[in-house]
Amino acid sequence: MIELKGISKTFRVAKRNAGMTEAVKALFHREYTLIPALKEVSFKIDEGEMVGYIGPNGAGKSSTVKVMSGILTPDAGSCIIDGRTPWKERTEHVRNIGVVFGQRSQLWWDVPVIDSFELIRDIYRVNGPSYQATLKRLLEELDIGEIVRTPARQLSLGQRMRCEIAASLLHDPKILFLDEPTIGLDAVSKIAVRNFIKTLNKERGTTVILTTHDMSDIEALTERILLIGKGQILLDGSLTELKNRHSKLRRLTVDYAGGSLPAIPGVKLEGDLSGHATLSVDTGVLSVSEAISKLSSAVEVTDLAVESQRVEDVVVSLYKEFAI
């Protein structure tokens, strides 16, 4: 479906220095720096997959998305999406993709949302019946039937984002690029957006590529993640696999009564507050069940929860590991 091979891209940026003399100098002469934005980026995404694309700011996320949506031509490498090279066959290519830029609106500010939808329908030349069907489904699933007659400027951020997503899907694209779709949203809207994306991927088989800074998005939505840093793909793998491989620690939360917790090799006490303790278990030394049985033999365990490490922590440690 999507295949990138050795995509590279370098930008030239003018240097700007501080100070009066430097500013005067710059009037006559300017130096440039070459910034490699993408270095040999390669990956493959199958039809119907949902992929989280993560990395710190300036790592090359949006450059990659721009390449895949045909906005940016790379210096080298090949990118085949659904049999086409995006920047060579722009018009045909973009008919198959939907793009949501989380921080920019494609809705007309001053007219009811539904009017924007109708204009977009005409831009994409969607025919009447299939537009009606898609619209009906989107209004229902995104729960925006009530608000599409309101001008976009009067909507809350959450309402507007749901309308933005609908606007990007009116032509029923096979691939959806989501760039920070939950940025600035409240918890309820975030969940609504996530649920919708999940259903879209499951039921319609739409391929979804999601860039975000919000790790809970990744956790809730994607199985596979691509980590990019300094223009290179550092990691390509499933979320669970990543967590397992990366960290042998498990977090154990215990409520207990009677006596004090024993010292067990491989188990570290992270915090203990009047019968509510957090422990980390090194699965390299002993298994979680062994730890639990040792605990319950010493104290009366009233409640217990096992968590693997949170994605945030994994990603932070990944960033550290690759020094980006």
Binding site: A23, V24, A26
Partner: protein, 267 residues
């Protein structure tokens, strides 16, 4: 005062950063001045007698006008001020221990000066080397050279004092756009920005000269070229001073009234 100086410095520095913009601005204004001069030349050739001033004086007038454009342009307004009035954020400004009028006045002066400093020298430098009568010539006399800076500063302050009235009027209107547009085109015309005031019909001249608008760019430029000299120049400068006092006075009284309204009505 220090904060205005540093504000000026930042504006100036950021202006310098955009080298292409600076060059483009200078060459645009240069071409603009050149075209104006060619246009007046055509009229001069039709009837030199009817020309109200020496042709060389007119070219000097035009180059000064272009070089000092940022000082006298009527269409520049600080949108932050309008926004703070219409949004009601002005109430916070009123809590600060500085005088609103003085603050706005100084800010406007700083922005205009920082723009003019960047652009006036290259334009004048090239214009000086143009052959007579197309270039900019030296002041008509020593007296003119001495009076010009004084008159220039006064004229500049009169314009800023007048634009203050436009800002203050925004307290009384729902949208300031209308007043702004009217004022901009009227000032631009009456101040001699479309055609210099001496080119207005004779019967209109006394009226025009009495209005505060003539005390803006018109007076200093005409003093420089010697079109207004001696006693007349002194009188013109005095008139500038009078207008400055009147406009600042009106502005200060008006702003007190306007801000009291804000406090009373809560915006």
């Amino acid at each position: 005062m220090r904060k205005y100086l540093s504000f000026f410095r930042i504006r100036f520095l950021s202006g310098l950063q955009y080298r292409a913009a600076a060059w483009a601005g200078v060459s645009t204004q240069f071409a603009w001045g050149g075209m104006s001069i060619l246009m007046y030349r055509a009229f001069y050739r039709v009837n030199a007698e009817a020309f109200p001033m020496e042709f060389a004086d007119l070219t000097t007038y035009i180059w000064l006008q272009q070089a000092l454009l940022a000082m006298f342009m009527a269409w520049y307004f600080d949108n932050d001020i309008f926004d703070s009035i219409s949004s009601g954020a002005i109430a916070y400004e009123l809590c600060r221990p500085c005088d609103l009028y003085t603050m706005w006045f100084t800010k406007n002066v700083a922005v205009r000066l920082s723009r003019v400093v960047l652009r006036c020298f290259p334009i004048l430098l090239v214009a000086v080397f143009l052959p007579r009568p197309y270039g900019v010539s030296l002041p008509e006399s020593v007296a003119a050279g001495l009076l010009f800076p004084l008159s220039l500063i006064l004229g500049f302050l009169v314009l800023v004092a007048f634009s203050m009235l436009i800002y203050i009027s925004a307290f009384y209107t729902i949208s300031s756009t209308g007043v702004r547009i009217l004022a901009t085109s009227a000032v631009e015309f009456l101040t001699g920005g479309v055609i210099p005031l001496p080119f207005f019909p004779g019967w209109l001249q006394p009226i025009m000269n009495a209005l505060p608008f003539a005390s803006m760019q018109n007076t200093p430029f005409l003093i420089y070229t010697g079109h207004v000299n001696g006693q007349e120049a002194m009188r013109a400068i005095l008139l500038q001073a009078v207008w400055l006092v009147v406009l600042v006075g009106v502005g200060k009284i008006w702003i007190r009234h306007a801000t009291r309204r804000v406090v009373l009505q809560g915006g």
